[in-house]
């Protein structure tokens, strides 16, 4: 059992919760390798994917996780969402409450919205990404992948590189790494840093090359190239030269160090194609872990315990 009703902020979880989710996910990952990838565990439970900001990848991952647990999944896509018609999130929460759903996955472009949803309905809430704030299941799947590839989490040095200020991935990964005793370093130009990265518990470096040899993990964030106003670096070319992961940089890292990316990748910008396709990049492992971790999160929130995870 988890000690929390919702997974909104990674810090809603205790270290024990976090470990429980990762351990449970391991059993589910095994299920996902079977020929018949389905458990009857959440039969009769209703899980709503409330995606008010489009994200095919994350939505698909949650959808698949719900299906493999035999839950009834409902999608609320952004285009069909009530907010477009002038209905507020509170109205939507009340509607979903009336439909008696058990768990809502909310993806929304506004920070804090899952907290608001939780206040207005009884269902369990999983934050599927809220604005620039957090994306806790992403942090969990990242931890899962690190643990799987490197054997442990405690003591790892993880460099998170790129647009830290706008990244909900960094927003939840940094505190998650702190919880498990790893050392997060956020890396990028000051124009891509939040006001107080130390408030999240991270060390800060403005240059990638300086810290490269220390890293067990280089976590490359996606750079938004479509940014309209106030470009935070002079050119994509310069960004890529200074903060992009390429083979030369990879060669300067520890031999067992890995490269991660939350996807979708801009090949040739934050990560070179050669690195992306090398066995040291674990991007597909992350995707794979995503389904298992989300199965574990749903399962544990809805009252399951770890022992019958594979029953």
């Amino acid at each position: 059992m988890l000690s929390t009703r919702h997974i909104i902020d990674i810090e809603d979880l205790t270290l024990a919760d976090l470990t429980l989710i990762l351990d449970t996910a391991e059993s589910f990952k095994e299920v996902n390798e079977r020929r018949i990838k389905k458990l009857p565990t959440l039969r009769g439970r209703t899980i709503v994917n409330l995606f008010l900001e489009p994200s095919t990848r994350t939505r698909t991952s949650f959808e698949l996780a719900a299906k493999r647990l035999s839950a009834d999944g409902i999608n609320f896509a952004a285009s069909a969402s009530a907010t477009v018609k002038g209905e507020s999130l509170v109205d939507t929460a009340e509607t979903l409450s009336a439909m008696a759903c058990d768990l809502v996955i909310l993806r929304h472009k506004y920070a804090g919205s899952p907290r608001m949803l939780a206040k207005h309905m009884d269902a369990h809430i999983i934050n599927g990404g809220d604005g620039m704030h957090q994306h806790p299941t992403q942090a969990l799947l990242d931890l899962f992948t690190m643990r799987e590839r490197l054997g442990h989490l405690e003591g790892l040095t993880v460099g998170i590189v790129g647009d830290i200020s706008h990244s909900r991935v960094a927003g939840s990964l940094v505190p998650a790494l702190k919880m498990v005793g790893a050392r997060p370093i956020v890396i990028g130009p000051p124009t891509l840093m939040p006001a107080r990265p130390d408030a999240l518990g991270a060390e800060v470096s403005y240059t990638l090359d300086d810290v490269l040899p220390e890293l067990d993990v280089a976590y490359m964030l996606r750079i938004q190239m479509e940014r309209a106003e106030g470009m935070p670096f002079p050119s994509v070319r310069e960004y890529s030269r200074l903060w992009g992961m390429n083979e030369a940089r990879l060669a300067r890292m520890r031999p067992d160090a890995i490269v991660m990316h939350p996807g979708p990748m801009n090949r040739g910008v934050e990560i070179s194609s050669a690195v992306a396709d090398s066995p040291r990049a674990v991007v597909l492992d992350q995707v794979n872990a995503g389904v298992a971790v989300r199965m574990a999160a749903m399962y544990l929130l809805l009252g399951g315990d770890a022992s019958d995870a594979t029953a």
Binding site: S88, Y110, Q134, R196
Partner: protein, 429 residues
């Protein structure tokens, strides 16, 4: 009507008065202030254990009429003002239509005469449509009763425009009230930039966005000789700039709000409570401490509420979508008593200076005093009663108070406007 306020502690810093005595009011005029005043047939208000001071004024109120009457209107807003102990409010021009011409000022003056519980002093816009471009007709607005000018809600972004505005305002000796926000620095910021913006993943509104605008406006006031009043100062840096400008003799005054004095950015966590969403945002505890120090040393001229009523459904939105602001008229005085007077940070004389006399002189309003021969605009305060800030407490149409759920100490029991009760025994008349 003859009215005798008997045995209260009479406080008026302008008269250097702070003693227990009686106040006699005949036909709306204070005719006697002294011990053991006898007046046959007078209506007596027992004021033992109460404070009598010049009527409080709020120099920063959003009455929302015309245009947003579902949030507040002249009747409900002035009702709230009376309930909070104010005998007068200054109404900001960001209504719909915007109060940027004589007829709009006249509408407000007439509406206030018809339905107002307290005096309403209109503040006209600095620029047409609050667009920060062309000068509004200040002369016409003054003729209709405008007391000062402001584009509150927005900073005037172009320094050249601000220079023209201040140059022109000098014609009338009018005070220009500035909302200091450099939009190039603030952008879409919704909370103070720092620890809390980082933790909550919200866009930061940096202190520098205020400090830069304050420094610029002080420089332009120095250049033009215009009277400058800085609205809702929220940062230690801005306050220091005001302090230094005053030392140089610049005609600058400033106000702070109760929410910036008594709350800081930590109030936002972890719930993203939209009741705490303000512009300028709640700052750090260090800023808060600096503002309190500024009350004491005279850098701050006024405590102003920035009373910003919003309907419940508007505040029940995602944090980034919800409007800025809290109501303030009804909680300001109890907050000041609870947090400053009861803790001996301010004296009653300081309260009168910051909430009655100082704000009037900042905006060049007619002075209100307790001197014999003055118009009886008076606030009477019970400093000991307990006030629970619940939805039922408010006379305002809107309940978006950042202080909901708190219990405070002290409240106005009577407000007199021209010798007439606007508030009596704690009830709005």
């Amino acid at each position: 009507m003859t009215l005798l306020l008997r045995g209260g502690r009479v406080v008026d810093p302008g008269l250097e008065l702070d003693e227990v005595c009686d106040v006699l009011i005949e036909d709306g005029i204070i005719t006697k202030v002294g011990k053991d005043v006898v007046a046959a047939g007078a209506t007596v208000v027992e004021c033992a254990e109460k404070i009598i001071m010049p009527g409080l004024v709020d120099v920063h109120t959003h009455l929302r009429e015309p245009g947003f009457e579902y949030k507040e209107d002249v009747e409900s807003g002035t009702r709230a003002a009376a309930h909070g102990g104010f005998s007068a409010v200054c109404a900001m021009p960001n209504t719909n239509p915007i109060c940027d011409e004589g007829s709009a000022v006249r509408f407000l003056v007439e509406r206030a005469a018809e339905r107002g519980h307290v005096r309403v002093h209109p503040i006209g816009a600095l620029t047409v449509g609050l667009k920060g471009e062309s000068l509004a007709e200040m002369g016409d607005m003054i003729a209709e009763g405008a007391v000062a000018f402001s584009d509150d809600g927005k900073g005037v972004q172009d320094a050249g425009t601000m220079r023209r505005v201040m140059d022109y305002a000098v014609t009338f000796g009018a005070t220009v009230v500035c909302h200091c926000e450099d939009e190039a620095l603030v952008g879409k910021g919704v909370v103070n930039e720092g620890v809390v913006s980082t933790r909550l993943g919200l866009t930061g509104w940096p202190s520098a966005g205020e400090d830069v605008a304050v420094a610029r406006d002080i420089a332009i006031a120095e250049l033009t000789g215009c009277r400058l009043h800085l609205a809702h100062i929220s940062t230690a840096g801005a306050l220091q700039a005001v302090r230094e400008a005053k030392e140089r003799g610049v005609a600058v005054t400033c106000e702070v709000t109760p929410h910036h004095l008594f709350l800081d950015e930590d109030a936002l966590t972890p719930e993203y409570d939209t009741a705490m969403k303000m512009n300028p945002p709640l700052r750090t505890s260090a800023d808060r401490a600096a503002l309190v120090a500024g009350l004491k040393d005279g850098t701050v001229d006024a405590i102003a509420t920035d009373h910003a009523p919003h309907a419940a459904h508007e505040k029940a939105l995602e944090f980034e979508l919800a409007p800025f602001g809290t109501t303030g008229l009804e909680t300001a005085l109890p907050l000041v008593i609870t947090n400053l007077v009861a803790k001996d940070t301010l004296t009653w004389s300081d309260v009168a200076r910051l909430m009655a006399t100082g704000p009037r002189s900042a905006l060049n309003l007619p002075p209100v005093t307790l001197a014999e021969g003055s118009v009886a605009d008076i606030t009477i305060i019970d400093p000991e009663c307990r006030v629970e800030i619940t939805p039922a407490f408010f006379e305002s149409k809107s309940g978006n108070s950042a202080f909901l759920g708190t219990t405070l100490l002290g409240k106005a029991t009577e407000v007199l406007v021209g010798g007439r009760f606007a508030l009596r025994n704690g009830k709005v008349v």
